[in-house]
Amino acid sequence: VSDERDLRARLSLRDKGLRRLKALTGLLVVAMTALAGIFVAIAAAATPGRKLIRVQPRTTAARVKPGASRTRSTSVPPPALPALGSQAASPPPAAPAQPPAAAPPAAPPVVVSGGS
């Protein structure tokens, strides 16, 4: 009788351990799923589908000066909008020495500037 009790107690202990192990496994699965969700959200926020790529023209531009060594482009990024304060690789169009002035009425125009 004593052996039988002892056996039952050990079986009960084993079943209890198994239940604990099962509960722990379930907990781990839930935790892993939650962590995966968090990482996916972080990755999605870091790389949105319509990310604006800022191009660095100095490193990819075709060199155009005579005598310059041959260079090759490395990528074909879409043109990016110029930011107001940004500087392109080439100097921007330079302002004239003097801005245009309103012509006096006595000075008839010699030519028309318009779309062509």
Partner: protein
């Protein structure tokens, strides 16, 4: 000394030459015609014997080019760099597919109702390979260059400089809407009427401004338009879409240190759209922008309309 002027058809548009001394007009005209012939032979997209046509048909291979075409391509690449790709010479293919595939005179005559426009992505100026040392250019397969945006302005700048160097007279060279001046200007400067179309009459509407150096260029969507089925297209392509640009401006005129710079800025302004006025102002470029409804914005020291009209 009385001034002299002459106009002649060239490069699919009108060339106008003005000199301060009419006695040198013939010599100046000869220099201008030589420059125009050279740029046409090198840079025309529509002449099968032009260097550019041969370069476009050899896309994918390095091609030896003349100094003139090399310079024109270098200027076009510089325009692209300086405008962050808004003025891109690699729009040639989509422009051709859209219907601008021959001289504009022929495009205009075509029955556009039956024409079906197509469009292609713009490869981008960074894919143009230039070997200045060996004077070769390679464009990727499927790419076609169009130098229309900058080659005329370059020709105007060069012709004006040549006339001054050879003759000494102050000079104005206008190729379509692109104007370069060099040498001593008239006492009141070179008076220029600004309009939507360079072919507008001298006494037509639009303000008159005077410049004393550099260049003045206008770009607009009211000219070089053609029909493709039920829609109407124009010649200024947005490299970001490969299609004629949709812009709030019908004409943008800019004064700059050279005609090329003015052309880069005016074309970029049209393509840039709503931000153009601020962009030009930030770069201290005098500019006049005309909205589609005809209202005007002046920035960068361009004379206000009341004073200029």
């Amino acid at each position: 000394v009385s001034p002299g002027a002459i106009s002649l058809p060239a490069l699919g548009t009108t060339a106008t030459l003005c000199v301060g001394d009419e006695r040198v007009l013939a010599d100046a005209q000869s220099l201008l015609e030589r420059e125009l012939a050279g740029i046409d032979e090198a840079c025309s997209r529509f002449r099968p014997d032009s260097e550019l046509a041969q370069l476009n048909s050899a896309a994918g291979r390095a091609v030896a080019v003349s100094q003139r075409l090399l310079e024109a391509i270098q200027v076009a690449i510089r325009a692209a760099e300086a405008s962050w790709g808004l003025v891109d010479p690699t729009v040639g293919r989509t422009l051709r597919l859209a219907g601008y595939d021959q001289t504009f005179e022929l495009v205009r005559r075509r029955d556009g109702h039956a024409f079906q426009a197509r469009f292609a992505p713009v490869p981008g100026w960074r894919r143009v390979e230039i070997d200045g040392e060996n004077r070769t250019v390679k464009i990727p397969a499927g790419c076609e260059l169009d130098l229309g945006a900058t080659a005329k302005a370059l020709a105007a700048d060069k012709a004006a400089r040549r006339v001054v160097a050879a003759i000494g007279s102050g000079v104005l060279v206008a190729l379509g809407g692109d104007i370069a001046v060099a040498g001593d200007p008239p006492a009141r400067g070179w008076a220029i009427r600004v309009a939507d179309d360079h072919a507008a009459p001298l006494d037509g509407p639009g303000p008159v401004v005077s410049i004393r150096s550099g260049g003045l260029a206008s770009s607009g969507t009211r000219v070089r338009r053609w029909r493709a089925g039920q829609t109407e297209l124009h010649h200024i392509v947005d490299p970001r879409t490969g299609r004629p640009v949709r812009t709030p401006w019908r004409t943008v005129s800019v004064a700059a240190a050279s005609c090329v710079d003015a052309n880069i800025a005016s074309t970029a302004g049209v393509v840039l759209g709503a931000q153009a006025a601020a962009w030009l102002s930030h770069r201290r470029l005098p500019a006049r922008l005309v909205r589609l409804d005809g209202s005007v914005v002046c920035v960068g020291g361009w004379p206000e309309e009341e004073a200029a009209a």
